[in-house]
Symmetry: C2
Subunit: 196 residues, 2 copies
């Protein structure tokens, strides 16, 4: 198969803030059709963490989401600089949002494309266990977060039932569930997850 | 818990094309902190379909993604008008991209938020079975698509291994896998999925 590519003939900057920038391209599609393409560039990676504690519980973060005007329960998540290792951002985010650090980390997935027809946002997800309190990163002053400790099995139920609507949380919980069921996780972690 | 809300003090239209529009708001965060918020509004729902045929195979669509400059294998997906039932859009998309129609449909999930810190894009996913050829919807002239028939179990493997990077495809395959493993799918569909 010959790969037919997109061509960008010209690009115009449209908008820029701390989190995103928008560029409009004049393009030729792989079919040969001319057109325009508005691309949303994200200045951060999306980083998610699924922590599992000694009693098989994880942490959900609750917050009002501005763009939907509704309350959302999600795994600890946040933005990580594009030029830093995703794991380092995950460690910071787990401390900031949940007040925890972890001895053990396992990447659930990386470079997942959250909305690849329009945006270049990439997501990384991690499992974290061997947890201990950690206050080395202050809370983000723009965030008003609720923190809830929930058994892992209950979070799987919430993901499957539609109570969790955040796509990254959903993909992380379902992938962890797949790995647990297929015996692909380290034994110590699998033992913790089955306590919850 | 008292819900603390975001306040939008003023809004400025920034950009508009066929697929998205951008609005910048002056806001007060739930913490009381003032700031700006750039919101990406999507003019379509994200619609995904996981079709299963009589031999337990599904369909993957391959295409060059402009924003990443790379080739991506995904489930059949496309945009559905906000004011139309998602199932109707799924039927059209399955015909356009895979040349198929289905006797049976099951919603895998709805209203999943693909990137809720910045965009209001919502995703719906469907399982489809009882398939037959259908050419009632012409291909989209701006799309250069490859179509590949793949056993369902192989698509699960590709999702878990990271060969499929599209977030919506990933969430759909992993949720279908969960429902199959927990006996939550109609028996006729589960039988088909276990043939692949």
């Amino acid at each position: 198969m010959t790969r037919k590519l997109w061509t960008s003939l010209a690009r115009r900057p449209i908008y820029d803030n701390r989190w995103i920038s928008i560029t409009e391209h004049d393009i030729v599609a792989p079919t040969g059709a001319p057109g325009i393409y508005g691309v949303v560039h994200y200045k951060n990676l999306a980083i998610g963490i699924l922590p599992i504690d000694e009693e098989g519980c994880t942490i959900l973060i609750g917050q009002e989401r501005f763009v939907f005007g509704s309350y959302s329960w999600e795994l600890p998540e946040g933005g990580g600089p594009l030029d830093q290792p995703p794991l380092k951002s995950a460690e910071r985010e787990l401390s900031e949002e949940a007040g925890l650090k972890a001895d053990n980390w396992l990447e659930l997935f990386g470079k997942v494309q959250l909305s690849n027809s329009v945006s270049d946002e990439e997501a990384f997800g991690f499992l974290a266990w061997g947890l201990a309190p950690d206050q080395s990163h202050a809370k983000d002053p723009s965030e008003e977060l609720a923190v809830r400790r929930v058994p892992y099995a209950e979070v799987v139920r919430m993901a499957v039932s539609g109570e969790i609507l955040d796509g990254l949380s959903l993909a992380m919980v379902l992938k962890a569930d797949h790995l647990l069921r297929t015996g692909a996780l380290p034994e110590a972690l699998a033992d913790l997850m089955q306590r919850g």
